[in-house]
């Protein structure tokens, strides 16, 4: 992994089209800004983990019908 030190207000470029700005730093959070072409998808990395966690290997035996029944019972929507 490439490691760089930057100050708030500074930025780095990734390729010709993507620029990442360090906007501000608080105690344990960094606010960053990304300038990129619209076709570059930007999302928090947790999304990948969340999707992988949602995958079921055998949907027929995953209790989906039972869950659906419980949701119907609790939710008159």
């Amino acid at each position: 992994m490439l490691v760089l030190q930057r100050h708030p207000g500074e930025s780095i470029r990734i390729g010709a089209d993507v620029e990442v700005y360090i906007l501000s730093i608080s105690r344990n959070q960094v606010k960053i800004g990304v300038v990129a072409p619209p076709e570059v998808e930007i999302y928090r990395s947790e999304l990948e983990e969340s999707n992988r966690r949602a995958v079921v290997e055998d949907w027929r035996n995953a209790g989906l019908a039972e869950l659906a029944q419980r949701l119907k019972k609790q939710d008159p929507k």
């Binding site: 928090r44 999707n51 079921v56």
Partner: protein
């Protein structure tokens, strides 16, 4: 074991950009059955072990509002003048664990355009929707 080799092409949903975290899976079918309603399953055609349970966002939040960028519309091939309500919005379902209730991801719904049979997971990056919205009382 069911084979997905003979799925009618018109029932295949293509995700041109894939789904984050699910490696190369791009072609899916939606599996429904009466017993699981309103839950359905997004099943990868190429890999029978990749099944993603989903639930319509409006079954979870009747007021759910989705924002699509110009790029999202392009990927989904949304037609000029196509009614946005014709798009199908599904939240990925995270099944209950030993100590966690069933939840769903309202922050990054899967949007399918039935007119083009294209899909995309559309991150609502500046919204306050939860990526882990509990569906049952803990």
């Amino acid at each position: 074991m069911q084979s997905w080799n003979h799925v009618p092409p018109e029932s295949v949903v293509t995700f041109p950009e894939g789904i984050p975290g699910l490696a190369g899976a791009r072609k899916f079918v939606i599996l429904r059955s009466e017993e699981m309603e309103p839950i359905s399953v997004l099943q990868a055609i190429e890999d029978e072990h990749v099944s993603l349970p989903v639930i319509p966002v409006h079954a979870v939040d009747g007021d759910y509002r989705i924002a699509l960028s110009a790029q999202d519309r392009k990927t989904l091939a949304v037609g000029e003048g196509q009614n946005p309500s014709s798009l199908v919005c599904l939240a990925v379902l995270i099944l209950p664990g030993a100590e966690t209730p069933a939840a769903c991801n309202l922050l990054a719904p899967i949007v399918i355009n039935p007119a083009s049979m294209r899909g995309k997971q559309v991150v609502q990056i500046n919204s306050s929707y939860s990526a882990l919205q509990p569906l049952e009382a803990a």
